[in-house]
């Protein structure tokens, strides 16, 4: 084989372990006697090392959270359209992964109920309580909206804490 054929094999099949045994043997024999092709093989190996050196990138943590939220939102919408599954998905969203977040949600819920019942038991209300009743009623009436799921976790929490 001529240098040209050997070099074609070097740059692809031989280098990638795809060459036939016969071709492989011929390349090896040629490399023994040809400095030019030997140099090419060395350069290809260097190139491979450099290419593999740029290590695998780790996907950022936030990525999974975004994907998870997108999927849950989608599932919610589907079930919402079918008219079931609100509670179980809410539970999954809130109790799914973040214990601190779940705890805060439960605490908020208890607080809401406490204030809610408090509001109805009192005849006269201070302006603050009027506001809180309005926002609670606003959310509790808005049942079919999937934004509710996120609203409960953030807005009310911010409001109270």
């Amino acid at each position: 084989m001529q240098c040209k054929e050997i070099q074609d094999l070097l740059k692809a099949d031989y280098f990638d372990g795809e060459a036939s045994q016969r071709d492989q043997r011929q390349v090896l024999e040629h490399l023994d006697s040809c400095g030019k092709c030997r140099k090419l093989e060395e350069e290809l190996r260097t190139q491979r090392v450099l290419f593999q050196k740029e290590k695998l990138q780790n996907a950022p943590e936030s990525l999974w959270q975004n994907i998870r939220e997108a999927i849950i939102k989608e599932q919610l919408n589907q079930e919402e359209n079918a008219g079931y599954g609100v509670l179980s998905r809410l539970k999954e969203l809130f109790l799914g992964q973040r214990p601190a977040f779940a705890l805060a949600s439960v605490f908020t819920l208890i607080l809401c109920i406490a204030i809610f019942t408090g509001v109805f038991m009192q005849e006269r209300q201070s302006p603050v309580q009027v506001n809180s009743r309005e926002s609670i009623l606003g959310y509790s009436l808005d049942n079919g909206n999937s934004d509710l799921v996120y609203g409960l976790g953030t807005n009310i929490e911010q409001y109270f804490f």
């Binding site: 692809a12 795809e18 450099l50 740029e54 990138q57 990525l63 999927i71």
Partner: protein, 187 residues
């Protein structure tokens, strides 16, 4: 990328988010690496990833196990990343030119003794970045994922000869464009 059990795939296709998280755990680093190597931009890579995993999630139901799951993921990832790269307004026209493998040759910088290594690595990566994405995708699947020509051909739905010639052309281009002597010193 490891192969994932049918059981996990089935559960994920039924909407089991824990199972899908497991799939994500097995595949996300590869998907992200490929997306990043092709788009060369962290926020683009993240968008590609999100897009890829939503496609996987939606496609799982119809996945028939006729091909290996990972082959399917390779295909979705490469196609999504390349489409993204092409659509990106940041890319100049000549990069879109299919025939122009390499955009331009960066200047060879003078290097201090101690800086030669990292400088050459950076320079080499700069050359790789400028390969057209189809060539880059073949190189990544071959050199990082260790796929055979047949596996690459299946994943990308291209003839084996195209795989062979893309790898050969990519390597030739990198050899031509890099300072060969410098490259050897770098290792």
């Amino acid at each position: 990328m490891d192969e994932i059990s049918k059981e996990i795939l089935k559960r994920a296709s039924q909407g089991d988010i824990k199972a899908f998280e497991e799939i994500y755990g097995h595949t996300s680093d590869f998907v992200y690496t490929l997306a990043f190597k092709i788009t060369r931009n962290i926020s683009d890579a993240q968008e590609v990833c999100q897009d890829v995993f939503m496609k996987i999630y939606h496609g799982l139901n119809g996945f028939q196990f006729r091909s290996a799951f990972k082959t399917w993921v390779y295909r979705i990832t490469v196609n999504t990343a390349i489409n993204y790269y092409r659509k990106s307004a940041r890319q100049s026209k000549d990069r879109l030119d299919y025939d122009g493998i390499i955009e331009s040759i960066p200047d060879r910088r003078s290097t201090a003794e101690g800086a030669i290594k990292s400088d050459n690595e950076a320079r080499f990566n700069g050359l790789v970045d400028k390969l057209i994405p189809e060539y880059k995708a073949c190189l990544i699947l071959r050199e990082i994922e260790g796929l055979s020509y047949q596996e690459i051909a299946t994943a990308l739905k291209i003839p084996i000869n195209t795989v062979r010639s893309r790898l050969k052309r990519a390597r030739e281009t990198l050899l031509e464009e890099s300072g060969k002597g410098l490259m050897r010193d770098a290792v």
